[in-house]
């Protein structure tokens, strides 16, 4: 931990940004009296989790991470600059070169077809092409970061809107097959009002839970067979039970690092019904006995973040978070942590490392999060949608209602709710049908699988084919260049591989290269199959394990690799 002070000095605004953050976090006065007292050692290092927020503070304030700014926060947190540099360099949103602003243009599978035209209209201003920004229903999406804590989301983006820096406010289309359960309040109840939330039935679930006791809640969740909605489909009750049975301090983490291409359901929930997310975390805390909660939200969701912070503060003021939650005799509070542009941090153990101020690389499992999770404590980590579903289940609502973010070549892209077991065809119908003839449908995002038009009657559920994943559905019409789409998916995994394990680090690169040769007419099916097998079997986390799924399915269905002329 030996500090090497950097000679470069932080600027006034950099100091102010870091100081403000650390003071807000209750960190002991870092400079004390300059030259007279300082907090260091374990006391400072114990707040290593403030490294990522502090990097954000610098980046938000001045737009980049300067040597002086880095040195300043390193001294405050007793983190060696070399280590902090390693952490900052891990995330796409941080740069070590001075810049005035950064315009991020999504060029992923949904926005991609618009990206070139959009960029061409931007008068040559410098842009960064980035993976999915989670606004696929309003493609194309742009995200602008400027010094002075300005983050602007623009979707749908036009050159004019981007140049003016004007956010476009188009509501996400909401559609429902059957009864709205998860989306009941989205778009109809004021997301910034706790009273409105309560009037609409909010916090009845928590009240019922504390009346009935944790065991009853667990039984209900289990009976409803609620499974993880982030993509892994793990039974929620099993996680909660394991942590409830653990000893000592425990933690609830809400995984709001929604980054799966084509997926935007958690964003809509957080923007439209933030109190439900807070209630869901509180419910999990009550059942498991956790006292601390963390909401890890992706950095490209400023509105969702603002709504969540607002909901948490309102809940705290109303005594629904804090030392005695809702007068029910248990303590729980939530801290918000913002991601910084790393898909891998949606993987639960990478997410823990990211919160702890380390590089967001996955950990080996076991130990599982329920045994040793965040800060080494038993941890429940649930997706946003899972927690909202748990709230509904506690009120005896149907636990089988699922969100399907739908985008691409359909009449009404948007977020759809339907019972599990719904067919892809029914969902496409609900979305107004295809705009033109369908070439293929991607289910489950970049880590998902393709379907051909003739197979759209398949139903979607946990544990059946095609894998449900995040529930994302992207429809491609016959005009789509599928080679380009599959190539984009492969490049996505190459770019987002954290590099920790060799199969993924090397395999995702080789996969891109093999696909490039494929584009030149050579069919290297054997190489791609070998890579897929190695990725699937030998990668340490889900990113690598699923990095060849979409490619393989495109090959199997002959969406690529065959001459179409």
């Amino acid at each position: 931990m030996d500090l090497r002070h950097l000679i470069a000095q932080a600027t006034e605004s950099e100091r102010a940004a870091v100081d403000r953050l650390l003071q807000a976090e209750g960190f002991p006065d870092l400079t004390g009296t300059p030259g007279r007292t300082a907090v260091g050692g374990r006391t400072a290092a114990a707040r290593r989790d403030l490294l990522l927020p502090a990097l954000h503070a610098l980046n938000d304030a001045v737009g980049w991470i300067s040597e002086g700014g880095l040195g300043y926060l390193c001294e405050a947190l007793s983190v060696p600059p070399a280590e902090a540099y390693g952490v900052a360099a891990f995330y796409d949103q941080f740069t070590f070169e001075e810049r005035a602003e950064v315009v991020r243009v999504c060029d992923d599978i949904v926005c991609g077809p618009y990206a070139d035209q959009l960029i061409a209209g931007l008068d040559g201003i410098e842009v960064e092409r980035v993976p999915c920004l989670g606004r696929c229903e309003k493609a194309p999406a742009v995200f602008i970061q400027q010094p002075g804590f300005r983050r602007t989301e623009i979707a749908p983006a036009t050159p004019k809107a981007v140049l003016d820096g004007e956010p476009t406010s188009v509501d996400t289309h909401i559609g429902v097959i059957g009864e709205p359960i998860l989306l009941a309040r989205v778009g109809t109840v004021d997301p910034e009002s706790l009273d409105a939330y309560r009037t609409a039935g909010g916090y009845q679930a928590l009240s019922r839970a504390t009346d009935d006791g944790a065991g009853t809640v667990l039984d209900r969740i289990e009976a409803a067979r609620l499974r993880g909605r982030g993509g892994a489909s793990f039974p929620a009750a099993a996680k909660w039970r394991a942590v409830a049975g653990g000893q000592g301090h425990k933690i609830v983490v809400c995984n709001a690092d929604e980054s799966e291409p084509g997926t935007f359901k958690d964003r809509v929930l957080m923007e439209g019904d933030p109190f439900a997310v807070v209630e869901g975390m509180t419910l999990a805390a009550y059942v498991t006995g956790a006292e601390r909660g963390f909401l890890y939200i992706r950095g490209e969701y400023p509105l969702a973040e603002r709504r969540m912070v607002g909901a948490i503060e309102a809940a705290r003021s109303a005594g629904l978070l804090g030392g005695d939650v809702a007068g029910a005799g248990f303590a729980f509070d939530v801290e918000v942590r913002r991601g910084a542009g790393a898909y891998i941090c949606g993987e639960e153990t990478s997410l823990f490392n990211s919160i702890e101020g380390l590089r967001g690389e996955p950990r080996a499992k076991p130990p599982f999060p329920t045994q040793e999770g965040l800060f080494g404590l038993p941890t429940v980590v649930n997706n946003v949608e899972t927690l909202v579903a748990a709230v509904a289940i506690t009120m005896d609502k149907d636990g089988g209602s699922k969100l399907f973010p739908m985008s691409g070549a359909i009449a009404r892209p948007g977020l759809y709710e339907a019972p599990l077991g719904v067919s892809v065809a029914a969902l496409i119908d609900a979305a107004g049908g295809p705009t033109t003839d369908i070439q293929a449908v991607l289910v489950g995002g970049a880590a998902g699988t393709f379907l051909l038009p003739k197979d759209l009657d398949v139903t979607l559920d946990h544990g059946t084919e095609p894998p449900l994943g995040s529930g994302a559905i992207v429809v491609f019409d016959t005009a789509t260049d599928m080679v380009a789409i599959v190539d984009r998916i492969a490049r996505f995994f190459r770019d987002e591989s954290c590099g920790k394990c060799v199969p993924c680090r090397v395999g995702t690169i080789r996969q891109v290269e093999a696909l490039e040769r494929l584009g030149n007419g050579s069919v290297e099916r054997e190489t791609l199959d070998d890579l897929a097998a190695v990725l699937r079997d030998a990668s340490i986390c889900g990113l690598g394990q699923l990095a060849a799924e979409a490619v393989q399915s495109a090959l199997d269905l002959e969406l690529i690799g065959v001459r179409r002329d």
Partner: protein, 537 residues
């Protein structure tokens, strides 16, 4: 300490202690091996407070750093004491049982309110209070110090101020609680233990004590002078007066290591006869009349060394010394023979066994036991004694054995070298990890970490003086002047500069320092010099 010149604890105790107070010590760089034990303690959950004018790499490991003004240690210690007493956090039972002079001590620290402490030390009152409470309420606490405490003209008083804190809180004589002065070289402790002090015979026995002295006189068959001899600073005074005309130096380089180096060189040069016994041709050896090349203690000699935890360990000869270099014992025996005394050829073990017969501390430490047990800690009077991991456990026994531990009230006095408009910057000196003292042993080897001779300035002072890293600066004190390249060091605050003594051939820092010394220990005021710094064109 409390009557015995050695740290009261074992190294291993810091690994399990509750609280570590590192005072005037940059152990991370100056005592890197010991610091590993300390880090183990931090890893095991110890809280650390570090008191140092500079924000050193050691202080970065501390939970709390207190950036004291140079030379205000007694003020800080007395303020801590007053706060502990005022809050009734002192250990009444221990004070009653094992100490004397508490009332007098309490009165002596009464004026040291937190506000007064802040005014004199520069450390915010709240930080002093925090440290006082932490130290008083810790279940076990190690109080460590080095030259930041002892290289002042108030050295002994500084140490007494710390001892007072330990007995005020009962943080001594128990496993995990103790007073630990860190020694610079692997055998500084051993040198003193073997009687290389003007007032001591081997084994910490007083020259002035008739019984102790009588024992040595009987064994050696000679009469010994009951008057304590001169310590180093007194020797230089005697040279200046012309009372001392010849000097035999073994393994010391005073031309470079003494404060006010120009004066030291002049006085040594004016002697009638100077003999230097050394492993290298040092600056002091250069001006000697006779140089006796000696074997290196580490690989060319048999013998023992004693570490800061009073542990005696064997060292073994691995190679023959080069050229005409000879073992120190051989040289001394040959010298005695030439002077007309028929000393027999003596092996290291024979000399050691003679020591054991005269020093109760070492009586039970045969070479065989040292070898089997990996060393022993004194006192170890008999061959069935296991050695003493920590000292003064007797203070806690019921009834108490031996004399009580006295409080020694001490008054703060400011550094002699006053800061004025002409000399506005406080220069303090210290060490770097890659180098050792005047560089006799370390300067001959390259190190990737070697920074070289610089004058380190705070960013504020560098800017104020219009100096950038690498610029040449002239540093002038009331005694002399040197030129050194500037390094900008954010760990320094405005008005505080730092230099090392490692490169006397490039920048002889001790030309600047003050040779005012502590009458009790003979240590000079290396740590507090008033200087003026200017651009050197």
């Amino acid at each position: 300490m409390l009557g015995a010149g050695g740290g009261t604890s074992s190294y291993e105790e810091i690994e399990t202690t509750d609280l570590i107070v590192l005072w005037g010590s940059n152990a991370r760089e100056a005592h890197p091996i010991f610091f590993h034990h300390l880090l183990e303690g931090i890893d095991n959950g110890a809280t650390m407070y570090a008191i140092d004018p500079r924000r050193t790499s050691s202080t970065a490991w501390a939970d709390h750093w207190l950036g004291i003004d140079v030379g205000s240690d007694i003020a800080l210690a007395n303020t801590i004491a007053r706060e502990i007493i005022a809050q009734d956090l002192h250990n009444r039972e221990f004070i009653e049982h094992a100490t004397t002079g508490f009332e007098q001590y309490r009165e002596s620290v009464e004026r040291w309110t937190l506000e007064e402490g802040e005014r004199v030390t520069g450390v915010p009152a709240a930080a002093i209070q925090d440290l006082a409470h932490a130290y008083a309420t810790a279940s076990s606490a190690q109080l460590l110090w080095t030259l930041g405490i002892t290289e002042h003209y108030t050295a002994s008083d500084n140490v007494f101020a710390l001892i007072n804190l330990a007995i005020l809180t009962g943080h001594v004589g128990r496993y995990g609680s103790g007073l630990v002065p860190l020694r610079g070289q692997n055998n500084v402790q051993g040198g003193g233990d073997m009687g290389a002090l003007p007032n001591k015979l081997p084994g910490g026995q007083d020259v002035a004590d008739d019984v102790s002295r009588g024992k040595f006189e009987a064994h050696w068959g000679v009469e010994l002078n009951p008057e304590p001899g001169w310590h180093l600073a007194e020797m230089f005074d005697a040279m200046e007066r012309g009372d001392m005309r010849a000097l035999y130096i073994i393994g010391e380089n005073p031309v470079h290591s003494e404060a006010d180096g120009a004066k030291a060189r002049r006085l040594l040069g004016s002697l009638d006869h100077l003999v230097v016994q050394e492993i290298h041709m040092t600056a002091t050896a250069e001006i000697a009349d006779v140089v006796l090349p000696a074997a290196v203690g580490w690989v060319e000699s048999e013998g023992t060394v004693t570490s800061s935890e009073r542990r005696v360990q064997r060292v073994r000869k691995a190679v023959d010394p080069p050229g005409e270099a000879r073992d120190d014992i051989d040289i001394l025996v040959a010298m005695a023979n030439r002077l007309g005394h028929a000393w027999p050829a003596t092996t290291a073990e024979q000399a050691w066994d003679e020591l054991r017969s005269l020093s109760p501390w070492h009586g039970g430490m045969s070479y065989e036991r040292l070898e089997t047990l990996g060393g022993l800690q004194w006192p170890c009077p008999t061959e069935d004694h296991p050695g003493s991991p920590f000292l003064h456990g007797r203070l806690w026994e019921e009834p108490r054995r031996g004399p009580a531990a006295p409080f020694t009230p001490v008054e703060w006095r400011p550094p002699i070298d006053e800061l004025t408009d002409e000399y506005p910057i406080r220069l303090t000196t210290g060490r770097h990890l890659d180098s050792y003292n005047t560089g006799v042993q370390s300067g001959r080897f390259r190190s990737p970490r070697r920074k070289g001779a610089t004058v380190d300035l705070s960013p504020e002072d560098a800017e104020g003086l219009g100096l950038a890293a690498g610029d040449l600066a002239r540093v002038t004190s009331r005694r002399g002047s040197v030129v050194a390249p500037v390094a900008v060091e954010p760990g320094l605050r405005e008005g505080l500069a730092f230099m090392t003594l490692h490169y006397p051939d490039e920048v002889d820092v001790n030309v600047l320092t003050l040779d005012e010394w502590d009458p009790k220990s003979g240590t000079a005021e290396f740590k507090a010099t008033a200087v003026r710094i200017e651009r050197e064109e």
